[in-house]
């Protein structure tokens, strides 16, 4: 009787220990991931702005100066303009890029045409090239087309390169049963109607995932804008923030927070879709 009780007690302490350790690790992990973010937020409220006037991680004086100067002192660093530029480029590339990627993935999943296998292999192979290996060539192409120093040039590149990453979306479409297509086609629907009326509504998670990835890429890319945009007024936020020095640390932090917030909000709203989308794409890839 006593022995059994001791055994139960032992199991109980083991369980409690297990839970305690789990929570300890979780707290450490949360701290590691949260602290740099917190540091940036605090830094943005620093009064003097230079990184040299900090007491370690914490600013010596707090104030809203960084935010004020971010939006009012636009002679040297025109942040509001950069922000609008980035927003414009990202939204446009997101629209076109998503459309092209989804169309490509749908065709690759549903149609069996002659060059399909060859195209799939080719994209797999091309994906292994270092991505900006061709940037010099892209730069030369853009000069030929007279699209240097123009936002539409960037949008064109982002949208045109987006379909290369159709694999995840194809994997998702593969999981939608064919019987849906067949039933609709018996009712006389054309493939276009099937796609618009039946497949698209079913693939909302994938649409969201695609839109999100094709939005965040131009939103935080720096290589292409740095190469193709010359005027300071046309800069995107990534290029602009990179041109800030250590003495402008508070302004950098404030600017970062403004560019990070939209993405963070989007991610938290759509995290469920993200998990489903990633898993679906991974298993079938």
């Amino acid at each position: 009787m006593n022995k059994a009780k001791a055994k139960v007690a032992k199991a109980k302490t083991k369980k409690v220990l297990n839970v305690a350790i789990t929570y300890c690790i979780l707290i450490v992990v949360a701290f590691i991931f949260f602290f740099p973010c917190l540091w940036l937020i605090l830094a943005s409220f620093s009064k003097s702005g230079s990184i040299y006037s900090f007491d370690g991680f914490f600013p010596s004086e707090y104030g809203f100066d960084a935010f004020k100067s971010l939006f009012t002192d636009t002679v040297m660093y025109n942040y509001p303009k950069w922000f609008l530029n980035t927003l414009f480029i990202a939204v446009m590339s997101c629209l076109f890029g998503t459309l092209l990627t989804i169309l490509t993935a749908y065709c690759m999943s549903r149609f069996r045409f002659k060059s399909r296998k060859a195209m799939m292999k080719a994209t797999l192979l091309l994906g292994m090239f270092p991505s900006f290996m061709g940037t010099i060539a892209v730069y030369l192409i853009m000069t030929q087309f007279n699209l240097i120093n123009q936002q539409w040039g960037l949008i064109l590149i982002y949208s045109a390169q987006a379909p290369m990453g159709y694999m995840v979306q194809k994997g998702f479409f593969d999981t939608i049963p064919y019987s849906i297509d067949e039933a609709a086609r018996i009712d006389g629907a054309s493939n276009f109607t099937v796609f618009v009326k039946f497949i698209l509504p079913l693939s909302k998670p994938m649409l969201v995932y695609t839109a999100l990835t094709s939005f965040t890429w131009p939103w935080s890319d720096f290589i292409l804008p740095k190469m193709l945009l010359i005027d300071k007024d046309l800069y995107t936020v990534a290029v602009g923030l990179m041109s800030l020095g250590e003495t402008e640390f508070a302004r950098f932090a404030a600017g970062s927070i403004f560019i990070a917030i939209p993405i963070i909000v989007l991610y938290f709203c759509l995290v469920k879709y993200m998990i489903n989308g990633m898993a679906a794409g991974a298993v079938k890839e």
Binding site: F34, L40, L103, F113, L140, I141, A160, N191, F192, V283
Partner: protein, 468 residues
């Protein structure tokens, strides 16, 4: 031992596959050209007229709209070819012959642009060939319909089929053109550049010429590039292996931890890594650079404790900077692996665990025997992509370390640079375009070989149905 046998069988199979491929080549060609032969022998005069002039056959069959369209396309192509295409194609081989001279006012050839336009001309010719064969097939189909007294499909019907039976043709046109111009064209261009002497002092207006494999020789044999190449390559491989392993097992561990039954408020705990994931990469990297800089907070505490400021990322630190790079990369990448693993873990059949528990397997055993194989199986493709991405991780050391840092014993590079960073410094900052292109070709060959081998040896390739 098992691994060795696997490797061996892989190469034996590869050889057999290759031999079979060569043997079947003639048959494949025959079957490819069977259709062409049929059209040539069976086609009537109208079909033949389409051979000569695109669209003429269709016009003779009174298919006005389609015929006119083909005719227009042909006229457009001929116009392009005469006006610039032929010269561009020729330029691809010569890369320009007239040296520019500002003094005498001679406008010389720009070899690089000529090469680019030459490749574009080749792509245009391929497009034209596709349309040309489509034209002939189309008129032959019409002939077959006419011979059997079946009514041929009208123009309206064929247009509407572009939204139905041929929807893929409509939908894929734009993506294919886009990928051709902005992905394939640049890559072909870079591959060709690797075989020229473009770069250094030899940039337009000077003429560029083909040099064969000279650039590769300069990378591998002794010279200014070879020692740097092998040093960087060794570190790059180590970096890719370590960072992929850390990120993968870190993410998987985190997902498993959050998956535990005893954890309450999963959404809140998960929010912290997602926060890290959502912040654009360049912000994180610049933030960490500030954190480890001389005036940064970490050095502040070291100095407050009486120590001397450490240049974590400065010229003299080698392994310190490398470890910081690994850590920062983990901070950035673990959350995405965690999300992926969470999604995959939710798909595991829970009956398996039930059965294991009944049999008295410990939770460690369950992890080794059920969870890990399943997750590995499901994520092998992702693992390969992650490996390649890490191998070519440009941003991390580009942002963390100052661009001006050069290490002793390295040519135009420092001791944390990956091949891709070196490539960037060589080609974008220092004009060594041809060497840069050759390096990127080497990177491509290495990464594709590694990933192909891993993929073929992996369970996801061999037993596709195991977990279905």
């Amino acid at each position: 031992m098992k691994f060795k046998a696997k490797c061996k069988s892989f190469f034996v199979k590869l050889k057999n596959k290759f031999v079979n491929f060569i043997k079947q080549l003639p048959f494949k060609f025959k079957s490819k050209f069977a259709g062409a032969k049929e059209i040539i022998t069976q086609g009537n005069g109208k079909v033949m007229s389409s051979f000569a002039v695109m669209g003429l056959g269709q016009l003779l069959y009174k298919q006005w709209a389609k015929g006119a369209l083909f005719l227009l396309l042909q006229a457009g192509f001929i116009l392009y070819f005469v006006l610039s295409g032929a010269a561009d194609l020729f330029g691809l081989f010569t890369l320009g012959q007239v040296q520019g001279d500002a003094w005498y006012g001679i406008e010389g050839d720009n070899s690089v642009v000529m090469m680019l336009m030459g490749i574009l001309a080749v792509i245009m010719i391929i497009f034209y060939a596709v349309i040309y064969t489509a034209n002939i097939k189309d008129v032959y189909r019409t002939q077959c319909c006419a011979d059997t007294l079946k009514p041929a499909a009208g123009f309206k019907k064929e247009v509407s089929s572009l939204l139905d039976k041929n929807f893929h043709k409509t939908a894929l046109t734009l993506p294919v053109i886009g990928v051709c111009v902005f992905s394939i064209l640049p890559i072909v261009f870079m591959i060709l550049i690797a075989f020229t002497n473009y770069g250094g002092a030899n940039i337009p207006p000077a003429l560029v010429d083909w040099v064969g494999f000279e650039n590769f020789g300069r990378i591998f044999s002794l010279g200014e590039f070879a020692p740097t190449f092998f040093k960087i390559f060794g570190w790059n491989l180590l970096w890719a292996l370590l960072s992929t392993a850390i990120n993968y097992f870190g993410g998987l561990g985190l997902a498993l931890l959050l998956n535990k039954k005893c954890v309450k408020g999963k959404a809140i705990w998960r929010a912290f890594p997602i926060l890290a994931y959502a912040i654009p990469g360049f912000i994180t990297l610049l933030g960490f650079k500030f954190m480890f800089s001389y005036g940064g907070p970490i050095n502040y505490y070291i100095q407050a404790a009486g120590g001397e400021a450490v240049g974590f990322l400065s010229v003299n630190s080698k392994w310190m900077a490398r470890f910081i790079g690994l850590g920062v990369n983990a901070w950035i990448s673990i959350p995405s692996t965690m999300l992926l693993a969470t999604g995959i873990l939710s798909n595991i059949n829970t009956d398996l665990y039930e059965a294991a528990r009944v049999d008295g397997a410990s939770s460690w055993k369950q992890f080794i025997k059920i969870t890990l194989p399943y997750v590995l199986f499901a994520t092998t493709p992702v693992l390969i992509t992650q490996f390649i991405n890490n191998f070519n991780h440009f941003g991390i050391f580009y942002f963390l370390r100052d661009a001006s840092i050069r290490s002793e014993g390295y040519f135009l590079a420092n001791n944390t640079d990956l091949l891709i960073n070196w490539l960037y410094r060589m080609s974008i900052d220092n004009n060594y375009y041809s060497i840069g292109a050759a390096i990127s070709l080497v990177i491509f060959i290495i990464t594709s070989l590694i990933s192909l081998t891993v993929y073929v040896l992996s369970p996801s390739y061999k037993q596709e149905e195991t977990f279905r």
